[in-house]
C-alpha cells in the first residue's frame, strides 16, 4: 500500500515536471519561478530556435546589411554590449542607452530600460526600425528574407508553407532569445548541491540579502520592475526613463532593474553605461545616491558598507557569473549557415 502511494506520488511529480518542461519547451532549474512568457502563442521548437539564431546573427536585418542583433548583444558579453557606454548602431551612430544583456528573458514582462515594450515578440521591431540601431523596417527584412538563397527553405521546413511574414520572423527571433537561459553559475551549483561557497562568499551573500535582495531577488537576481536608484540625471542625455512612456511624474528616473547575474561580462553598468566597474557601482550606492521624490524607498537612507563588506559582496556577485552560458556553442553563430550566403 505504502509502495503504491509512493509510486502514485512519484508519477504525479514526474508528470508535473514533464508538463512543466513540455509547456515551455525550455530546460530550467526547478527553483526558477513560472515563466511570464505565454508559450501557447509561440510554442518552442528546436528548428525555430535554430532559425531565430541565424536571424539574430544576420546583418541582413539592418538597412545596409552591416549590423546584426549579435553585434550589440554579443554572447561573450552575456548578450550585452561592452566597451561603449552608449551602444552604437548603423552608420557609426550612437544611441542614448547601453544595450542590456539578454538572458532569462522568459521571466521578464517588460523590455527596454524604460519598459516601453511589454511583449517579447514585438521587441525586435524597435531595434530593427530605429534610425540609430538597424535603420530598417520589418517589411524590408521580410522582403530580403524572401529573396534570400537559404531562408525560404528554412521557413518552408518549419511552417510547411513558403510564407515569410513579419509575425513568423519576430516569433522565431523571440524563440532564440527565450533559449538564452543562464542557470549554471556557482550560485546555481550551490543551489543544486554541487558546490560550496567560500567564507568570503557566504559573508557577501549575507550582505547581498540585507542590502540588495529586495530589488535583485533570487533566483533571477532581479524582480524586473522599475526603480529610481539615485543616479544623477545626465545633463547631456536628459533621460527621464519610464516617465517618458507612462507620462506619470511618479515614474521619473525609473529604469528597469537589471539582473545581477553575469556582471563580469555585461559591463559597463546602468542604463547609460556610466560605471565601468563594480567598485564604481558600489561607490554610487554607498556615497553618491541623489535624493529625489521618486528615489526608491529602499535607498532613502543610503547603503552603508565598509571596504571589506564591499569586497565580500563582490566575491558573492562573482558567484553569479555563468561562464558556461557565455561560451556555450549552442548560442553561438552557426557558421555553416553563413558560408556561401554572402551577397544576399
Amino acid at each position: 500500500m505504502k509502495i503504491n502511494n509512493i509510486i502514485i506520488g512519484l508519477s504525479i511529480v514526474l508528470t508535473a515536471t514533464y508538463c512543466g518542461v513540455k509547456k515551455s519547451g525550455l530546460e530550467t532549474p526547478e527553483y526558477f519561478p513560472v515563466p511570464h512568457y505565454n508559450f501557447d502563442n509561440n510554442p518552442i521548437s528546436k528548428a525555430k530556435i535554430s532559425l531565430g539564431n541565424n536571424l539574430f546573427y544576420d546583418p541582413l536585418l539592418s538597412a545596409n546589411n552591416t549590423i546584426s542583433c549579435a553585434l550589440r548583444h554579443s554572447p561573450y558579453a552575456g548578450f550585452a554590449h561592452t566597451d561603449h557606454d552608449l551602444s552604437h548602431g548603423i552608420y557609426d551612430s550612437v544611441g542614448t542607452r547601453n544595450a542590456p544583456p539578454l538572458f532569462n528573458i522568459a521571466w521578464q514582462d517588460r523590455f527596454m530600460w524604460d519598459g516601453a515594450i511589454d511583449n517579447l515578440d514585438a521587441q525586435a521591431l524597435a531595434p530593427i526600425s530605429h534610425a540609430t540601431e538597424m535603420g530598417s523596417s520589418i517589411n524590408e527584412v521580410v522582403a530580403k528574407l524572401k529573396a534570400h538563397k537559404k531562408y525560404p527553405e528554412l521557413f518552408q521546413e518549419i511552417y510547411k508553407d513558403s510564407l515569410i511574414t513579419g509575425e513568423r520572423v519576430l516569433k522565431v527571433l523571440a524563440q532564440f532569445q527565450l533559449s538564452l537561459i543562464s542557470s549554471n553559475s556557482k550560485y546555481d551549483q550551490v543551489k543544486k548541491g554541487a558546490a560550496n561557497y567560500t567564507p568570503k562568499e557566504i559573508s557577501g551573500y549575507n550582505i547581498y540579502k540585507s542590502n540588495c535582495a529586495s530589488c535583485h531577488a533570487e533566483p533571477l537576481f532581479s524582480i524586473y520592475g522599475f526603480a529610481n536608484n539615485g543616479l544623477a540625471l545626465d545633463s547631456t542625455l536628459k533621460d527621464i526613463g519610464r516617465q517618458k512612456i507612462t507620462l506619470n511624474p511618479k515614474d521619473s528616473l525609473h529604469f528597469k532593474i537589471p539582473s545581477l547575474r553575469n556582471l563580469n561580462y555585461t559591463f559597463p553598468y546602468m542604463h547609460d553605461g556610466r560605471f565601468k566597474t563594480l567598485r564604481e557601482v558600489l561607490k554610487h550606492y554607498t556615497k553618491k545616491i541623489q535624493n529625489s521624490t521618486t528615489l526608491s524607498t529602499e535607498l532613502k537612507n543610503g547603503i552603508s558598507l565598509t571596504k571589506k563588506q564591499q569586497t565580500d559582496l563582490i566575491a558573492f556577485l562573482n558567484t553569479l557569473n555563468d561562464r558556461d552560458f557565455v561560451v556555450s556553442q549552442k548560442h553561438q553563430i552557426n557558421r555553416s549557415f553563413f558560408i556561401n550566403t554572402e551577397g544576399n
Binding site: 502563442n41 516601453a116 515594450i117 515578440d121 521591431l125 524597435a126 530593427i128 511574414t165 513579419g166 516569433k171
Partner: protein
C-alpha cells in the same frame, strides 16, 4: 422509447434546419469619402479660399462588426478584424451573416479591442508588416492618417495622426453605433472631411503616441461613420 428518441432527433434536425435557413450572408462595405466625393490620395482638397488638405496615407482597423435587432445580437461579420487601407481602394468590402437580414443597428469598433492588443504580434491583417504596430512602444495603432496642409506650420506642412493606445487612461479604440435597416448590400460612408471639421490641424497636427491628444482625436473618429444612402 425508441419512437420518442426518433421523434426528438427529428425535431432537433428540423429546428437546426430552420435556424440555418434563417441565416443569410450579405455584404457590408466601407467607402472612403472626402465630403461628397470618394477619397483620392494625393489630391488637393480646398477647405477655404486659400487653404487645402492633401491625404497621403489612411489606414485603420475596424473590429467586431455586429448587427442588432432591438438590442439583441442577430449577426456579425465573418472576420473579426478588418484593415482598411486607402492605398488599396476607397471601397472595402466584407461579408457578414445575419438572421433574415433583420436588424436595426450596426455596431463596430474603430480600432482593436484590448484583448487583441495585449496578445501582441499576430498574423493576417495584424501582421507587423501592415505597419500598424508601434515600433518603440506597446500595441497597435488603431487609426493612421498622414498628409499635408497649408494650415499646418510644421516641417513641409505635414500632419501625422497615429492614434493608438489601449491602456487606461489612454485607451483609444472607439465604439460606433449606427441605425440601419437590413436590406440591400450595406455601405458605411467614412467621411475624412469630418475629421478636419472636428480637429483644428493648425493647432493639433502631430499625434504619434498614446497620450491625452490621442484620446481626444480618437473621440472624433466615430463621427466619420454613417450609413450611406444612395
Amino acid at each position: 422509447m425508441g419512437l420518442k428518441t426518433t421523434y426528438s432527433c427529428l425535431c432537433f434536425l428540423l429546428c437546426s434546419f430552420a435556424v440555418k435557413a434563417q441565416k443569410t450572408t450579405a455584404e457590408i462595405s466601407f467607402q472612403l469619402f472626402f465630403d461628397k466625393l470618394p477619397l483620392e490620395l494625393a489630391k488637393q482638397y480646398p477647405v477655404s479660399e486659400k487653404d487645402s488638405i492633401t491625404i497621403d496615407f489612411l489606414k485603420f482597423y475596424i473590429s467586431d462588426i455586429t448587427f442588432l435587432k432591438e438590442g439583441t445580437q442577430v449577426g456579425k461579420s465573418k472576420e473579426k478584424h478588418h484593415l482598411i487601407d486607402a492605398r488599396h481602394s476607397s471601397l472595402y468590402k466584407t461579408l457578414y451573416k445575419v438572421k433574415n437580414k433583420n436588424f436595426d443597428t450596426i455596431t463596430f469598433l474603430v480600432g482593436l479591442d484590448s484583448k487583441t492588443q495585449e496578445k501582441g504580434i499576430q498574423g493576417g491583417v495584424l501582421d507587423p508588416t501592415s505597419q500598424m504596430y508601434w515600433t518603440w512602444q506597446n500595441g497597435f495603432i488603431n487609426f493612421k492618417l498622414e498628409g499635408e496642409s497649408s494650415l499646418c506650420t510644421t516641417r513641409k506642412n505635414k500632419f501625422q495622426f497615429h492614434v493608438g493606445g489601449f491602456q487606461e487612461p489612454y485607451a483609444t479604440s472607439q465604439e460606433v453605433s449606427l441605425k440601419a435597416k437590413g436590406a440591400k448590400p450595406l455601405v458605411i460612408k467614412v467621411d475624412v472631411a469630418s475629421f478636419f471639421n472636428a480637429i483644428d490641424i493648425s493647432q493639433t497636427n502631430t499625434v504619434t503616441s498614446p497620450n491625452k491628444n490621442a484620446v481626444l482625436v480618437s473621440k472624433v473618429l466615430p463621427t466619420l461613420f454613417s450609413v450611406h444612402e444612395n
